[in-house]
């Protein structure tokens, strides 16, 4: 009996102490004590937590890296696909712009029938200024047909196969075009060169021409229709001792960047060579 009698008092005392502590805690009287105890513990807890997270990262990193790499590869593939799409769309926009310009050009000259063709190559010889287009005799193209762009005169068809054609540019050294200078209303001949520069020749000495004058086809000779824009006079060379003036010409067509051309399919070139008298030999 003696050994068990103090226990209820101990238990009651402990319960009362606990209730007292709880009551003090609920009343906020233990806050300074709690703060004083927790203040040195918090940094230790932070230090331990940081180290634990570092260890956790080390052990879980391989899975995350693989996932990130996979995701990165997916995103890179997506970027590449989108970049390709952007390039394709930009090309389509450029093509539409060119085609719109060509359509405007065709509408402005309704008397002509046009066939559009893409430039697919150029002559392998640097001496010859020719381009190759992707339309041929199957599309109704014939030798001698004039070729234009939305800017102006490009050249004429020199040779035709079933699905392709060779176009002699007006910059070719062997190309000669009869032109008219505006507003002077003077006829001249346009001559290409090996440097792709085009020059005007056979301009009468008394003709009043100046830089900026427009050059249009005259239609003489029957090789080209009249009134197709060729370019502008860049500079005039006049010598008192020469029979004619000459001028260098800035073409309106950028022959380096030409992509799509129009062929005037209803124009029939006229071969006037039989009408040109041959020189008779002097006896």
């Amino acid at each position: 009996m003696n050994s068990t009698s103090p226990r209820p008092w101990q238990s009651i005392t402990i319960v009362l102490i606990v209730i007292g502590i709880l009551a003090l805690a609920l009343g906020g009287y233990l806050t300074p004590i709690t703060r004083a105890v927790l203040t040195p513990i918090t940094p230790v807890q932070s230090w331990l937590s940081t180290r634990f997270q570092a260890f956790q990262t080390v052990f879980t990193a391989p899975n995350d890296t693989a996932l990130i790499q996979q995701r990165n590869a997916e995103l890179e593939a997506e970027i590449a696909r989108l970049q390709t799409q952007i390039i394709e769309l930009q090309q389509q926009v450029t093509e539409v712009e060119i085609l719109t310009s060509l359509l405007d050009f065709a509408k402005a000259q309704p008397e002509n029938d046009y066939e559009a063709a893409a430039v697919i190559g150029q002559d392998p010889s640097p001496f010859l200024k020719y381009i190759i287009i992707n339309k041929g005799s199957d599309d109704g193209l014939r030798r001698g047909m004039p070729v234009v762009s939305e800017q102006g005169l490009v050249g004429r068809i020199a040779a035709v196969t079933a699905n392709a054609a060779n176009v002699q540019l007006i910059t070719d050294p062997a190309a000669v075009v009869n032109v008219r200078i505006q507003p002077a209303e003077v006829d001249a001949t346009l001559q290409g060169s090996i440097t792709s520069e085009i020059t005007l020749d056979l301009i009468p000495q008394d003709a009043e021409i100046q830089p900026g004058d427009l050059i249009l086809t005259s239609g003489l000779g029957g090789n080209y229709p009249a009134n197709i824009l060729v370019g502008q006079i860049a500079s005039v060379r006049q010598q008192a001792t020469a029979l004619f003036q000459t001028a260098s010409v800035q073409p309106v067509v950028d022959f380096e960047r030409i992509e799509i051309v129009l062929i005037i399919v209803n124009f029939q070139p006229i071969d006037i060579s039989p009408l040109i008298p041959e020189p008779t030999p002097v006896p």
Partner: protein, 166 residues
């Protein structure tokens, strides 16, 4: 086999020349991929069918160009002859052979073309031809001659594996 390869390689080289290489210009000159592929084949001792390759090169260029077909055929056959002669009779130094035949080949092609154009009445000036076409073309051809030759060497070794001494 050699002729079949010639059709494939010369056809491909001509397409590349017309669409890509010919548009990369220095002044008025351009590299001649067909010439370099032809030389890359001719300058290998084990290569066969070099004359067929010469004819094919000329024919492909003649078909795509505005010049008459016989002119490039003659040009490329002449180059084949020069390359064959140098390779078999003169030197056995591949690099020297390549550089010499590249210069000679460029000169042959452009000289024959300019002579033909002059004969048919195209106004050309000798100084312009040399300064603006021939010299830049030689430079561009020399620039890409070595890579093309390396590729052709690999192809020749693949077609005609070198004999191994036991």
């Amino acid at each position: 086999m050699a002729t079949l390869l010639g059709v494939v390689f010369m056809g491909s080289a001509t397409i590349l020349q017309v669409t890509v290489v010919g548009r990369i210009n220095m002044l008025e000159g351009a590299a001649d991929l067909v010439l370099l592929v032809l030389l890359g084949w001719v300058l290998h001792a084990r290569a066969e069918g070099v004359w067929q390759w010469g004819v094919l090169a000329g024919a492909f260029i003649g078909i795509t160009s505005a010049q008459p077909v016989w002119l490039p055929i003659i040009s490329y056959l002449s180059i084949t002859a020069v390359g064959y002669l140098i390779q078999t009779r003169v030197w056995q130094i591949p690099l020297l052979n390549l550089l010499t035949t590249t210069i000679a080949g460029t000169l042959i092609i452009h000289s024959l073309t300019s002579v033909y154009l002059t004969v048919i009445g195209t106004p050309l000036q000798l100084s312009e031809i040399f300064n603006l076409v021939i010299l830049p073309s030689i430079f561009l051809n020399l620039l890409i001659a070595l890579p093309i030759y390396s590729v052709m060497t690999a192809i020749t070794n693949w077609v005609y594996p070198p004999e191994v001494e036991v």
